[in-house]
């Protein structure tokens, strides 16, 4: 009889755990969702890169663009733009938009090359 009680006690604990996990992970996972921009879905990331590219196009400020791209994560800004171009091509973005992003990638690439050139005497 005592073993039966212990067994039922364990079962009730496991049921409680399951209910707690169900609530915390499924029913109400985001009581206070505060997601960073680095978690944005690929199409939103691409549109964000496009915004940066549009801004870059008007001023050709590579440093500012790289700073703005930090919003999307700590990866290399050039890599972020390259990924965005690939996504944009997958999603059939208009060529004008892809061109803007390509121009930004070119600028970042050039900047990186210049930096590497100055670093090595």
């Amino acid at each position: 009889m005592r073993i039966g009680r212990i067994l039922w006690f364990l079962i009730s604990i496991l049921t409680g755990i399951a209910l707690g996990l169900l609530y915390g992970w499924v029913i109400n996972p985001g009581v206070d969702i505060q997601a960073p921009a680095s978690t944005l879905r690929a199409d939103y990331r691409t549109d964000t890169v496009l915004m940066v590219a549009e801004i870059y196009d008007s001023g050709k400020d590579t440093a500012k663009a790289a700073e703005q791209l930090k919003l999307l994560g700590e990866e290399d800004p050039l890599y972020i733009v390259q990924q965005a171009i690939l996504t944009a091509q997958d999603l059939n973005y208009p060529a004008a938009d892809v061109t803007l992003m390509a121009s930004l990638a070119q600028g970042l690439n050039l900047n990186a090359a210049n930096s590497a050139g100055t670093a090595v005497p």
């Binding site: 209910l19 505060q34 921009a37 915004m51 940066v52 999603l91």
Partner: protein
Amino acid sequence: MSSRARERRERREHSSQPRQNGPWYLLTGLILGAVFGLFFSLRISPVQYVNTTPKVLRSADKDAYRILVALSYQANGDLGRASQRLAQLRDPAPDGGLTDLAQRLVTDESKIETARAVALLASAMVQSGATPTSSTLTKATAAALATITPLVGTPFSTLENEQAIHTATPQASATLPVPTGTLQPTIASRITVVPTLSPPFVLKDRLPVCDPAVEDGLIQVQVQDSAGKPLAGIKITAAWQSGEEFFYTGLTPKINPGYADYRMSEGYTYLVTAGEAGEQASGLTTGRCTSADGTTRLSGWKLTFALP
């Protein structure tokens, strides 16, 4: 049988019977388990978000997103696209969010230009009546594109559902070359020119104010074009004997996109200019006055600047 032996026997019998305490131990186990489950799922291993939308971004990142939208609008003048991007934040009043942001940015001198871009977008949205609903945005985009006869709007598709962004971009032709970094000449035709050095404004009207509905000692400035249309993003300078401050119209688009105000201090005489080299409103002071409802207030000024 002695009473002692009887007592022992009763105790033995009693201990061999199951106690009828009810199922409380089950409830205890359930609560213990639930507490552990909640703690684990909310604290130790909370849900990791991936593939999120701008709507669930933390507030700092939402602000950064708004700034990008405003700067890109400043760069390309595409209000339809900017409205659609802002709509992704699902703000009940997108222009209100922009105005708040502009007012926060304007306090930092290094971010004045950014504040100006945000304010311009806010006032453009108020003027155009852009709302976050997708149907209106589609109409706005269509209307914006309809004004550009040779251009064709091309929506881009989404990853998997209709939640993603559908914006339109003008294309010169369907056979544009693969990206080469060359600027598309069609973009330039859509750029809304925002003058950085504004033309000289003239002081059209200057009225003292002693109104209980208006904040004490307020200089209310309205800036208009020659047709009387409010102008946002115009720099207003308020100077006094020992210093000056500047601010921009359009930070409170709910009042008027061409509106800006400044609170005077008693004992100072102010000189207000609109734009870079416009006519000056000089000798502006504040003092006690009696308003229509009989209360004593600090007087203010209502100034209207306009293009000749």
